[in-house]
Amino acid sequence: MIPDDVNGGRNANLGRAVVEPEETLRVLEPGQTYASVTDKISAIALAHQHPRSWLIGFITSSTLLMVFCYATAYVLIMGIGVWGNNVPVAWAFDIINFVWWIGIGHAGTLISAVLLLFRQEWRTSINRFAEAMTLFAVACAGLYPILHLGRPWVFYWLMPYPNTFGLWPQFRSPLIWDVFAVSTYATVSFLFWYVGLIPDFAVLRDRSKRPFSQIVYGILAMGWRGSAIHWQRYETAYLLLAGLATPLVVSVHTIVGFDFAVSIVPGWHQTLLPPYFVAGAIFSGFAMVMTLAIPLRSMYGLEDFITLHHLDNMAKVMLATGLMVGYGYLMEVFCAWYSGNQFEWYVTVNRAFGPYALCYWALIACNIFIPQLMCFRSVRHCVPALFVISLIVNIGMWLERFVIIVISLHRDYLPSAWEMYYPSVWDFAQFFGSIGLFFALLFLFVRFIPVISIFELRELVHETEGGHKP
């Protein structure tokens, strides 16, 4: 009745040779019942006391969020001149951070949608918080282009609506495509996340003891009763949303790639950019999921649900997408050389040996060389090593955007227009502050919403153990 390992014995035996016997390569540790998974996950959201580690994390990230609010207020009052960007480097931290954040978001959609379509059951334990990560990352991402507008309070001019100017947005510009792509992505990610949450809100409504949370979760659950016909529609809707989100996620980062590729700046004007941006987005997103999952599982004792199997699989996805990104870097150099275009070639040389060479080589080390350690099974099964590698990849992917944006802009066609770019303290305040915003939202999510999809875990229990037997 109870299979030794849902992935077949091969993995399990290999896993045992390397790791401690209690943590094998299962999707779900044995001995779980419908009731036990329900109680364990819902208890996190319904607990009266905030765990100490949660309080420390929330206070730290809220402090950073204050930095973000302060920096944003300062930018709104003084204008974007307080940032370091100026012609010729008119795009800098704001666009770097925008692309970085939106790329991070993409892994969430990939895990929840693409892995669902491929029937990868290991996604169950990580899809919920990966989706939340998407949502919060998109929220952080969206703020940057809006602030970069200079007059953010008229951001709605980006939207097509009948107005007294008699003007329309330029629909032939990738920047307007971006507006539609990012707002659609934010909406669909939210719907996907919320639809996934409805049955779990019903769990919290039914298990909560306090009237206030009963009312709040009751409203959020919309009167969900778990009826068979509702489940059928629900599953259909969820699958359809997954099918819609999959091309969407590819299109969003493709359009982000178009922002660069459609321009005529050397180093940007390449057909390679859209696909290689998508691979990079998935790479950085999985790194961020790993960065979040590792502390989360130890903080709440979720090792039974987010197992080494999950970390191992995520490491493999990172390895694969990392190699795609590496191929992208190689092709960039090759195309620059093969084009015979002196400006393209100069950008390549300037990246590797110019004033920002340190960033370039750090990026190569972070994104190409260090992730190769994950080729070794012993590294993939060493949780602290994975955590460090995932942090390094996050940094590397940020540097990648820095290299693409700043180095291309600071020396393009006319040497008389060349200028160095240095970020100001407000750039850094805004950047680290947005990390605070992201984590503050994430900590609130972890505290008040089930971090793992409870009903999908029950399905998994049903498939692997038959439900009630201890």
Binding site: F171, V188, V203
Partner: protein, 183 residues
């Protein structure tokens, strides 16, 4: 079977509790064979074939998704055509005003947006959600439908429903308990 003469008006139906999805499915298919039609199963997670066992029709949701997608895409194209060709024609180097290849990204995004919105609101609308009150919530044990128990409710509105006979039938189908659901 006799009519529902013995059913008091304040009864919504009878709710049987099971602890395994398989027993629930067996009970539901027996009930269907007995001629019960207005019934519904409740479970903490979706059960395979549960809907077909009770004779419910297939969901029409995918059609709604298609309609939403087509509407979104058409809106995207019409909006851009109107803006670029009719309302504000702008000659850029003699290129055609109806430059449809440049319109594709927005058409695509709005197709997805329309389809997603129709899917979610269609799913909620067809299911009658949000529904803050439902008679089943009057049964305290029903809370466990979101935890580890499985329920089958035969509604009093069913033509074959009879308070005593239906209760007997449910007891015979290995229900752990049978509750009367007040309205």
């Amino acid at each position: 079977m006799s009519g529902s003469t013995s059913t008091p008006p304040h009864v919504y139906g009878l709710l049987a509790q099971f602890d395994q999805p398989e027993t629930l499915r067996a009970a539901a298919s027996q009930a269907y064979a007995q001629g019960y039609r207005r019934m519904e199963a409740y479970s903490p997670f979706p059960i395979k074939d549960m809907v077909s066992v009770m004779g419910h029709p297939r969901s029409r949701l995918p059609i709604l998704t298609l309609v939403g997608g087509v509407l979104g895409g058409v809106t995207g194209y019409v909006m851009q055509y109107y803006a670029c060709v009719i309302s504000y024609p702008l000659n850029v180097g003699g290129r055609p005003l109806n430059s449809w290849p440049a319109f594709i990204p927005i058409i695509f995004e709005l197709t997805i947006l329309g389809a997603a919105l129709f899917t979610v609101f269609g799913m909620l609308g067809l299911s009658g959600l949000p529904m803050p009150y439902h008679a089943l919530f009057n049964v305290p044990e029903f809370k466990r439908a979101s935890r580890d128990q499985f329920f089958l409710c035969i509604q009093a509105a069913d033509r074959s429903f009879d308070l005593l006979q239906t209760r007997e039938f449910l007891n015979a189908s290995h229900a752990l308990a049978v509750y009367e659901v007040p309205r």
